[in-house]
Symmetry: none
Subunit: 226 residues, 2 copies
DNA sequence: ATAAATACCATACATATGTATGGTAAAATT
DNA sequence: AATTTTACCATACATATGTATGGTATTTAT
């Protein structure tokens, strides 16, 4: 299971936005708690945490949990087994940087630096090297991807026909459906208003960045602060 | 509660197509298990179940759980506390007769599912008290929610008109758009093929479980092994 | 009518679980 | 240099938890 926290308490040298930072081990344990709760449904017991991290007794885990609780990241119901609650602000919603905007229709530029973040539910599993892009434009609306959606992109080099990929050409990014025939690549929009882009596979100015492996969309309001 | 099976043992007068029916008490206990897992995040202990149903000892609960497990509705990890898994499979959802009705008109069925690697297709509780449901059916396709999408539901009691909610009525779950006028509630499908459902706000057989705060959809293949 | 399943109770037991206490060593602060 | 925090260990203890066993009464099959 992959949890990528690109946030403050991941980088100890970062500025302190949270009152109390977790140590690396505490962070790993917290990740394990989330991982277990999300993936398995119930929080682990002290013994299971100890097993996972190779501790010889539960007391070590106990003290780590106390530290984590003291710092406000979890909350325990005393005397109750498997009662660890994770008390992050947005709870399991883990902030991820959005690297840029990508055009479903006409190309858009990618931000040099991440200027936006999104709170992704922890269940939204991101492959280790994947990144997020926010879609602008409606050229993929027939593929049910809409402007404002956040797509999860997994960097890759090989793609199958019909897969939705993110490509960069001339410093601009597009999200389109991938088709390959011989040495030429055709990038299709689902929306017929946009003409397909055809390029040579070895075009130096052209590069397919990765595969769109998921999309995420928020509804309602103020639930996710993006 | 949140987890409703539109199946035989919900309607005792139905014909017996299932090999092993649950008794009424067993059914109530199973519902409680799901209720706890969804609403609290962890399955209850035997003692908690006994407390809830007024049993004086855990052995009674123990025997009920054994019966439920024998009939294949749950699975327990021996010696592990709070390890009850709800083993919902397709067979627990009405295969033919009632499904036909559901498919033809309203409501559309939702089945609890996990998008995680774990086998148990149980509702994964999301810490912010939200949980996941995988959408089946196309009644919300005009709201860009499609069959197979995972929706993130945040339990709540108050809703604004126009919000997309998950409701339970008559032991079936629906995802629809919420509208309230006076004492009556109207649940709208975006898809005009489905007629809106109108119920009284104080109908005991009706309950709005929560608000759909997000959707998640996977694309590509084998990236996430769900 | 007999057998089997259901629905409870009581008691006993092993262990899983959380917690308390005390100790050692290294790293980080002050 | 002294203190605090971190990161482990060991042991002990209360109880939460699951399980096993045996019992009674009622209902449901066969």
């Amino acid at each position: 299971m992959v949890f990528i926290h690109v946030n403050k308490w991941d980088s100890p040298n970062g500025s302190m936005s949270m009152s109390k930072e977790l140590t690396e081990i505490q962070h790993k344990i917290l990740n394990f708690l989330i991982e277990q709760k999300v993936g398995r449904g119930i929080p682990p017991s002290l013994a299971e945490i100890a097993l996972r991290f190779g501790y010889k007794n539960r007391a070590t885990v106990q003290q780590h949990l106390q530290a984590i609780e003291r710092k406000g990241y979890i909350k325990k119901n005393p005397k109750l087994s498997r009662s660890i609650e994770i008390t992050l602000e947005d709870k399991y919603f883990i902030p991820h940087p959005i690297l840029g905007e990508v055009a479903a229709g006409n190309p858009l530029t990618i931000y040099p630096d991440s200027i936006d973040t999104i709170q992704l539910p922890a269940i939204v599993k991101m492959p280790a090297e994947s990144f997020l892009l926010r879609v602008k434009g409606d050229s993929l609306k027939d593929a049910f991807i809409f402007s404002g959606d956040v797509i999860i992109v997994k960097p890759d080099t090989e793609f199958a026909n019909g897969q939705i990929v993110v490509a960069i050409l001339e410093d601009a990014a597009v999200v389109k459906r991938f088709y390959k025939k011989g040495g030429s690549i055709k990038l299709h929009s689902e929306n017929p208003e946009y003409k397909p882009i055809v390029i040579e596979a070895n075009d130096p100015k052209f590069k397919i960045v990765g595969l769109v492996v998921g999309i995420y969309r928020t509804m309602g309001k103020k639930i996710f602060n993006n």
